[in-house]
Structure formats: C-alpha cells, structure tokens
Symmetry: C2
C-alpha cells in the first residue's frame, strides 16, 4: 500500500458505515487504495468472531467487505468523473444489489486481499467486480450494482 | 415466535458462526423458527454500529443475516429429509453463493423480520429464497445456493 489517504478517508471521512466508515469505532473500517491499471486494492484482517462456523471466514463478513470495497471502486470512479453527491445525499451512488460466489474457504486468521475494478459506468449506475484473494487464489468474488442516489423531496 | 428451540439451537448448538452460531458470544446469534406453510421466520434487532453510513441498516449485515437465515432454511429441510452431515463435516450443506437485492432502506433502530423458504432441493444442492421485511414491505431479498458438504480425505 502507498503512504497516502485511503479512498474512504479521502472521499467519505465522516461516514459511520459498519464496513468502511472511518468514524465507526465498532466497525471494520476497511481501507481501499488505487493500485495499478485502475484496480482498487484493500487488505482486511478478520476479527476472531468472524468465524463461518467451521474455522474459516464468515460468508456474511465476506459479503460485507466485498460490498464496501465495491463502494470504494464506485465512489472513486464517480469522483474521477465529477459525479458528486446530490444535495441531501451523503454519497453519489447507493448499492442496489450484490451477487457473491464463494469459490474456496477464506482463512479466518490471515490478512486477505480485496481487488476491485469498474465493469460498467454511466451517470445513473455503475457495476463493480470485486474479489477476495488469499495465498494466490480467489476465495470469493462478487458483482455489485450501484445506482445514483437522488434524494426525493 | 413459539416457545420452542430455534433451528440453530436444535441443529447446530455448538456452531461458532458469526451470524447464527449459538456459542459465538460476539456474534449476531440469529434465531430462526419454523412458521406457517413451510416458511422459516426470524427476527433481528441491529446493533447501533450496523449503520450503512446513512442511518439505515448496513447492506453487509443484511447479507449476513439473510445468508444465515438461509442456512436455517436449508439445514431444517435437510434434517427433515434425513440428509445429515457427513463424518468430518459440521453441517450437511455449505453456502456456494448469495445474490442480494436491496429494494428499500432497512431501519437501523427497529427489529426486522426475516422470512425464508426452500425453492429447490435435492441431495446435492438446495436453493433458498429469503427476505427482510419491515413495516409491511420487503426491504431486501436474496437467493442463496447451498451445496452438499463432502469433506475430502
């Protein structure tokens, strides 16, 4: 990782999100960074209680960090495109869905790597592909759909 | 809810799963019960830190409880069919994927209801449909695929 501010700390430093909000002291506080070739990268170290029941990383926690990592991908891409949050909204886009596939067990007691990239983007929706890697193999992958957040009066 | 043991306490009382393990003292300890017409029902009260960043329930936590509720649907169905865990396995089935759609904001400070039912089942895989309801409306829904857990030597 570079010695620079994470996407979360740069673009939504005051967000209290459980997965990635910098100010949520009881949250996971995921930190994601721009990497090479447009990829967004993060590392995540599970907590002991994040067990899936069989000694591996819980699928719900996997979904949580993949979802939040996709938020970093999408918000970073929105920022690059000048798509800022509308008045009354805290973020430019909100998640509409995430489809997670569990390929192999993910370790509970190791730091894993998240990799993400933008698949499609326009002014109304973005799609991100995100993966959880450990020891050279994809453990889980997801596609996340985000839609522009337009607060209603 | 009826005055009876939950599916988790009856079928996997010693599981340390973050979402639904009865023995995970730092986990969510979801409790699911058979309802009417084959439906499986649970109630879940979020913790204050389960914020999505905008004052509603976090999408990752929604995925976590929908995933674990689908575990109750599938394990209950497996038990009814006599599909028990193989030697060396803690559960008869493991989750292979979950596709979550976020329909409306889910409240952070209210108890929500989870409803689940089996869509398809055979001896090698099961699919469950699960929903999160509050105030008479579906807030999120998911389809979860579970595959038979066959430990390898």
């Amino acid at each position: 990782m570079r010695d620079e501010l994470s996407i979360q700390d740069r673009l939504y430093p005051d967000l209290p999100c459980f997965g990635c909000g910098p100010v949520n002291e009881r949250g996971l506080r995921l930190k994601s960074y721009p990497g090479d070739d447009g990829e967004i990268v993060a590392r995540f170290t599970p907590w002991p209680e994040h067990d899936n029941g069989t000694g591996f990383l819980n699928g719900g926690i996997i979904a949580t960090v993949l979802d939040c990592h996709s938020a970093a991908v999408v918000t970073h891409a929105a920022d690059e495109r000048g798509l800022h949050a509308f008045e009354g909204a805290l973020l430019p886009f909100l998640t509409a869905g995430i489809d997670v596939r569990y390929r192999r067990p993910s370790p509970l007691r190791e730091t894993v790597t998240l990799r993400g990239r933008l698949l499609e983007a326009d002014e109304s929706r973005m799609t991100a592909a995100v993966e959880l890697w450990w020891d050279g193999k994809v453990r889980a992958e997801a596609t996340a759909l985000w839609k522009r957040w337009r607060p209603r009066d």
